[in-house]
């Protein structure tokens, strides 16, 4: 046990390039058994490459990997597992059609090269694994029917069961409620006591600050800061990650007093997801909406956009009641929606930037007979590229040629081009680097000043405090509290959520 607690895991001077582009240039880090380490970095900082090298997916060009008292120049995935390195990705890599028991037991069978499986043995392996981390879940349920938080715990149980020594968790707190984060941390304490070196790869500094002992900050493939977590405050970390002095002060614009309402929601109910939801948004107002996972906040947002059924209730847009049976109707009524995952839900990756920009408003560019007016299309493209400062020299280039931040601007532009009266943004800055984050908030501010109403659904409390006029908190499908402009404060919001 002592050996485990003093074992060192890490890398020394790792260099890795992909076809001429340097992903990592001389990165070194070290984690002790029983320690919880945080690797912070933006997209493109090299953190995913680092994980992949440590888990055997890629081989470094030079440098060594240190696992306990063994040194390696490179690893194969199976070797990595055998040496105790495991990665839990954001999708947990679970098989939804198999039961919890089978998901947990599979790697054990694979490790032992078993050909035959027995139901009893599977159950035993699974029960033991769950006991090891102190969790109780019905092992006979198919994973498809299990909540996300439980899936994550099952993934951890699976890893622990294999005698994991160094566990990487990629953005572990993204989809969890406060309560579930607490449960996760309890489990982490358990494996910590067992000598496991846990590495959280995350940029949600607030959430992981309490559990992490040490931190390494990556930027552009280099280590720009490391040391004890307590020596790093949030803005120091942000600054190191971006190399910029990014302000996080409040930028919500001054709200013009008016009794007009862009949208009024009255008693939206869809049992059991949400009930009796009523609120309204004035022109130019930025309303924030937050809540725990499972609170119904995403369903609510999607319901306002016509993507989720509403059993009863009314919605009035610009004084006119509308029926929302589909997104097309919501769009016609002047409501837009930016979904949280731009890669799978927001962008048409193989299409040109231009096509992405006009995706929502295609019908606007129609001339007689259903024809597409290409000149108008091109003009619109030019305009939006300029307006939102999208960095490209040719709108015909595929949208994949853009950086992450610019891609998010394209997604926003696509909707802003429709000039909606109400723009619903669900997690607008998820997976966006801190620099672009601020710029996106500025775009929201600018549009709000012109009169556009916003509903920002987010679990990023600091972000909400920066940009919103009001924030409503959803709990168990109902509005639990509304915070006015004067009451907005991070600590108070966090408290309301837990």
């Amino acid at each position: 046990m002592v050996k485990l607690l003093t074992a060192q895991y890490g890398v020394e001077n790792i260099v890795k390039s992909f076809g001429g582009a340097k992903a990592l240039s001389g990165v070194s880090l070290s984690v002790t058994g029983g320690e919880v380490h945080c690797i912070a970095g933006e997209n493109g900082s090299g953190k995913s490459t680092l994980i992949k090298i440590m888990s055997g997916v890629h081989a470094p060009d030079s440098g060594v990997i240190q696992l306990g008292d063994k040194t390696f120049t490179h690893l194969s995935p199976r070797e990595a597992v055998r040496e105790g390195v495991q990665v839990i990705f954001q999708d947990f890599s679970l098989l939804p059609n198999l039961t919890v028991a089978e998901n947990i037991a599979m790697p054990t069978y694979i490790l032992n090269n078993s050909r035959i499986l027995s139901k009893n043995q599977t159950k035993e392996i699974a029960s033991n694994a769950l006991d090891l981390i102190g969790i109780d879940i019905d092992i006979n349920t198919p994973v498809a029917d299990i909540s996300i938080a439980s899936k994550q715990l099952i993934a951890i149980a699976r890893a622990t069961n294999l005698g994991v020594k160094m566990l990487f968790m990629d953005e572990p707190t993204t989809a969890l409620t406060r309560k579930e984060i607490k449960r996760l941390f309890e489990v982490v304490e358990q494996i910590k006591a067992r000598g496991v070196a846990t590495v959280f790869v995350s940029h949600k500094i607030d959430e992981i600050q309490e559990i992490c002992n040490t931190i390494t900050i990556l930027r552009n493939g280099e280590v720009v800061g490391d040391g004890l977590m307590k020596d790093f405050k949030r803005d120091k970390i942000s600054q190191a990650m971006t190399g910029l002095n990014v302000s996080e002060t409040r930028i919500a614009p001054k709200l013009k007093k008016t009794s007009k309402k862009v949208v009024e929601i009255k008693n939206f109910t869809t049992k059991p997801t949400f009930s009796n939801i009523s609120f309204s948004i004035a022109p130019g107002e930025i309303l924030g909406m937050t809540g725990l996972l499972g609170s119904g906040r995403t369903e609510l947002a999607e319901a306002i956009f016509g993507q989720y059924p509403v059993d009863s209730g009314e919605i009035i847009v610009d004084g006119k009641p509308i029926h929302l049976n589909s997104s097309s109707e919501a769009l016609k009524a002047g409501i837009g929606y930016v979904p949280p995952d731009r890669l799978t839900q927001g962008l048409f990756l193989e299409q040109s930037i231009l096509n992405n920009l006009v995706a929502v408003g295609i019908d606007q560019y129609q001339s007689k007979g259903g024809r597409l007016s290409k000149s108008r299309l091109a003009q619109a493209g030019e305009r939006w590229i300029k307006d939102l400062r999208i960095k490209t020299n040719n709108p015909q280039n595929p949208v994949t040629s853009l950086s992450g931040g610019n891609q998010q601007r394209v997604v926003l532009a696509k909707w802003l081009a429709m000039n909606p009266h109400l723009m619903i943004l669900n997690g607008p800055t998820v997976g966006v680097d801190i620099g672009s984050k601020r710029e996106i908030l500025e775009i929201i501010r600018d549009r709000a000043q012109e009169g556009m109403a916003f509903l920002v659904v987010s679990d990023d409390i600091p972000e909400l405090v920066q940009i919103c006029h009001r924030v409503i908190v959803i709990k168990n499908g109902q509005i639990s509290k509304e915070f006015s402009e004067a009451q907005l404060d991070e600590k108070v919001l966090y408290k309301e959520l837990s």
């Binding site: 992909f18 097309s328 231009l354 995706a359 295609i362 015909q396």
Partner: protein
């Protein structure tokens, strides 16, 4: 202002693929002309090819449409046969009644045939767009059903002896060009216009590129899919009518190997089987290539079975080529994104 704005669908890629295909078509032509001077490189052969290409080209264009949206319509041949059967049945029944069959009835028969195509397409539309059934499964089921109904109603026998005026369409000429060929060009232009210059067309490409994103961003995305299967059904029925006109017969099992041929053509023509990319020009060129291969094999006395094997071989080969090229392109873009 860049004139390239005039082409979307990553126009540069389309240009490149069509150029490659044109070169390939030319090479195939030269090859077979050289290898079989007397039989292949004759005007009678070219004319005969010009009569046979249209029906399969139209079917392939129909297939391309459904593929563009990321789906597939396996029922095109069964719809084509069903339409041909209905039209033929009407014509032969009316022929039996009077000596001279007026053109009116021929037109009615054809209209009924196309209505069959639309109805069949509508069934596909409901399954795929409304009920969200996977296209492979949905069209496999409708293919079986339509084919089954056709067999049931005709007892497996073909309907022949179609009126002469009708046959003139499939075997005659229009200002010197075989009529079916003219029809094919018209249809190709129409579909090309639809796909490249209308709002519906752009939406088709977006839906095929990312169905999920289309659900959120593209207005009327489900309608787009519904239209595609409807038009596919319509085009299939037109192909069926041309077949009936050319062969003077309609049967429930005609062209059972056409679905393989259509997929080969579509893939060779540069259509991405996962959706989001394809050109009508590419499909036409690919049809020409396959027809030349068929005709060339014939001239070289290869059996039709060898042609069947060749189709499969071409399909596999082109797919492997696509995969290899795609891997190279992905590796390049990984490197690129790391730089940015």
């Amino acid at each position: 202002m860049n004139e390239r704005f005039s082409k979307f669908n990553t126009g540069l890629l389309a240009d490149r693929k069509i150029t490659q295909l044109m070169i390939f078509t030319a090479l195939t032509f030269i090859f077979f002309s050289y290898v079989s001077k007397d039989i292949f490189f004759t005007s009678s052969n070219f004319v005969s090819m010009a009569y046979q290409i249209p029906e399969i080209a139209i079917l392939s264009i129909a297939l391309m449409l459904s593929m563009l949206t990321g789906g597939i319509d396996l029922s095109i041949v069964s719809i084509s046969n069903a339409a041909a059967l209905v039209a033929s049945w009407v014509m032969t029944t009316k022929m039996g009644e009077s000596e001279n069959l007026s053109n009116k009835w021929i037109i009615i028969a054809c209209v009924l045939g196309t209505i069959v195509g639309l109805l069949a397409g509508a069934v596909n539309s409901i399954l795929v767009a409304r009920l969200n059934v996977t296209p492979i499964l949905a069209t496999l089921a409708t293919m079986t059903l339509f084919n089954g109904i056709a067999i049931g109603m005709t007892n497996g026998e073909s309907v022949s002896g179609l009126p002469e005026q009708f046959m003139r369409v499939g075997n005659g000429t229009f200002f010197g060009i075989p009529t079916p060929f003219v029809l094919m060009i018209l249809i190709a232009i129409a579909v090309g216009f639809l796909v490249n210059r209308t709002t519906l067309g752009l939406k088709v490409f977006l839906v095929g590129t990312n169905r999920k994103a289309a659900q959120y961003s593209v207005m009327g995305d489900r309608k787009v899919i519904a239209w595609v299967y409807l038009i596919s059904g319509l085009l299939s029925s037109l192909a069926g009518l041309i077949i009936a006109s050319r062969t003077s017969a309609a049967s429930p099992d005609f062209g059972s190997s056409y679905i393989l041929l259509a997929i080969v053509i579509v893939v060779l023509g540069g259509v991405n089987p996962n959706g989001g990319f394809g050109t009508v020009t590419g499909v036409i060129l690919a049809t020409a290539v396959l027809q030349m291969v068929s005709s060339g094999f014939n001239a070289l006395r290869f059996s039709q079975f060898f042609y069947l094997a060749a189709q499969g071989g071409v399909l596999i080969f082109v797919m492997i080529l696509n995969v290899v090229l795609e891997n190279r392109r992905t590796n390049k873009s990984i490197a690129k994104s790391l730089r940015s």
